[in-house]
Assembly symmetry: C2
Homo-oligomer: 339 residues x 2
């Protein structure tokens, strides 16, 4: 497969070129016995019957950016969705929709990244699909991943947040908005692309460390599209709890703050791809922070607020200038195709 080659419609035909692509690209890099079998479905033997199952499609534009590419997003995003549900991510599926004429070398870069991320996170890509559409009928490449994770039996409540109660602390593992600004910078060629990296990362390692503290974590969610604000608003609404956050405790990089001011964005709503919001018991909060800080992806972990009895269903932010602001869900669209 020569690197100057391009994707042809025949690569999606199910015929000979499809087989070559599967063999020379997907099986080569994703290599594992389940995928190599090339059966219609991957045949898996799980270690238990309680699972988490999730999916996301990735349409990020541009497909390559500082700190990652669409393939890294696709693997990490689904790993994170499983992890925040209190599950250990194990298996991924992968569906490519590729525009005719897409460079095979770019596909190889993306596939290599996916393989590396999966290996690093201890996850296998066991089944997949490739469709090719005519030139102009999609924008370069879209990737869907679905994932299966083994659910820790006593962690079932975590994705619902049913156990949260007033006094619980809200923790985030680092600065918000990095991914959003990295994409904006790459898309608009703002000239400071090198100054801000997407935070795109698989959080399963970090989260599994935190889960070791028994009974400490009452809720987790990764703050992706819609940002930190959306996670907090959903939780407040679903659990009819009040949420209070302190603006000055929410980590935002200077470059992110500055870019937001120029473009009229609010970092609270910017997408992240490596940030988890945790609600933990008051008693365990400092221990959780300590554990998070000892992991490379949690060095800046910090308490940003707490669950309150008052203002049920609402998120209230203490602003840096001393006022109070009710945080609502994102009404419009700040940055389309952010992930």
């Amino acid at each position: 497969m020569k690197s100057d080659n391009k994707i042809l419609l025949s690569h999606g035909s199910g015929g000979k070129l499809s087989h070559d692509l599967i063999g020379e690209m997907f099986v080569k890099y994703f290599s594992n016995p389940e995928l190599v079998a090339q059966t219609d479905s991957a045949i898996l033997e799980l270690s238990q019957k309680n699972i988490a199952f999730t999916t996301d499609s990735y349409v990020v534009d541009p497909i390559f950016f500082q700190g990652g590419n669409i393939g890294k997003l696709a693997v990490c995003g689904t790993i994170n969705d499983l992890s925040v549900s209190g599950a250990k991510p194990l298996y991924l599926s992968c569906g490519f929709i590729i525009e005719e004429g897409f460079p095979l070398a770019d596909l190889e870069t993306i596939v290599k990244t996916m393989a590396e991320e999966a290996r690093h996170a201890g996850v296998k890509i066991v089944t997949g699909d490739t469709k090719v559409v005519n030139r102009g009928k999609c924008d370069k490449i879209f990737i869907n991943t679905a994932g299966i994770g083994m659910l820790h039996k006593d962690k079932k409540h975590i994705s619902f947040g049913t156990n949260i109660s007033a006094g619980d602390k809200i923790i985030i593992n680092g600065s918000i908005g990095d991914h959003g600004i990295a994409i904006l910078a790459a898309r608009e060629s703002l000239g400071f692309e090198s100054l801000v990296n997407s935070d795109c990362a698989a959080l399963n390692g970090l989260i599994s460390e935190a889960l070791k503290i028994p009974g400490s974590i009452n809720f987790m969610r990764d703050a992706t599209r819609g940002g930190l604000a959306t996670v907090l608003c959903e939780l407040a609404k679903n659990q009819k709890s009040g949420i209070w956050v302190n603006e000055k405790d929410i980590p935002v990089k200077e470059i992110v703050k500055g870019t937001c001011e120029i473009f009229g964005f609010d970092p609270l709503y910017l997408a992240n791809e490596g940030k988890v919001v945790m609600v933990v018991t008051k008693e365990a909060a400092s221990e959780v922070i300590k554990i998070l800080k000892s992991h490379p992806l949690g060095k800046e972990a910090v308490i940003i607020g707490e669950i309150t009895e008052n203002n049920p269903g609402k998120v209230v932010m203490q602003t840096e200038v001393g006022g109070r602001r009710v945080i609502d869900m994102l009404a419009g669209e700040m940055l389309p195709r952010i992930c």
Copy 2:
């Protein structure tokens, strides 16, 4: 949600409009407790640890055609991939990529069809994702489904075909090429759209009936992209077996034959969306045919050939005119975006 409304970029933002869409469309029609929870991952309790896991993206053009639409394809296709692996399909994920401006009424039609097909097949759509891309950056709508099925323990070999042996009969449950020609007719406005229906159907009911005959089925595969020819070529190659088929026994509708002649297509390579190829023991063949024929989707089930000792790795067809032809995998692309 008014029917003259259109999909906006904000429907994919993760914010308020995304939530409205999820609530008023997906949760409404796909309604089940796992989905209603709207957690990052669906939390499932399986009945056993042996599973099949598969995915497919659907980019069919046009999205509505005689006998189905892209949503029906997306549900049935993944159900069929699980079923031919000897698994009982249970859970689906669903990822939409939608073009800005896509009519909400069309989305509703598609989602309704998906819900109906899933209900009919006894399958739940438990987790999903929606991305919206700017106008012109995808063609109307693409859908990915991934699926989980419970694997019948003694059926593990079926998707590999490791148990096939010379003398085994090759069965198909009806005529080939209907889906391919239905799409072609709809796409090219050939004027005979009403004469040929896509065979798009969930085959899990039919297959589970056939699986009740113990030890009879040594291989199954649905003949989708690449058609019957590709299924047979893959099996011959992977198992280093010879395959012999008799052209006159392969059911092809007259309208399909005629259209193929005009367009220079070969029905052997045309896509099907409701056809399963089975390899069954010589002894069980007539019993399997009987069972298939008693099901609405198997009325035209027929033996079309057998596994042979000679010509290992090759598919040889006895032609209607009395000659022999070696069948190879599809080299190019007959009809892009067929599924």
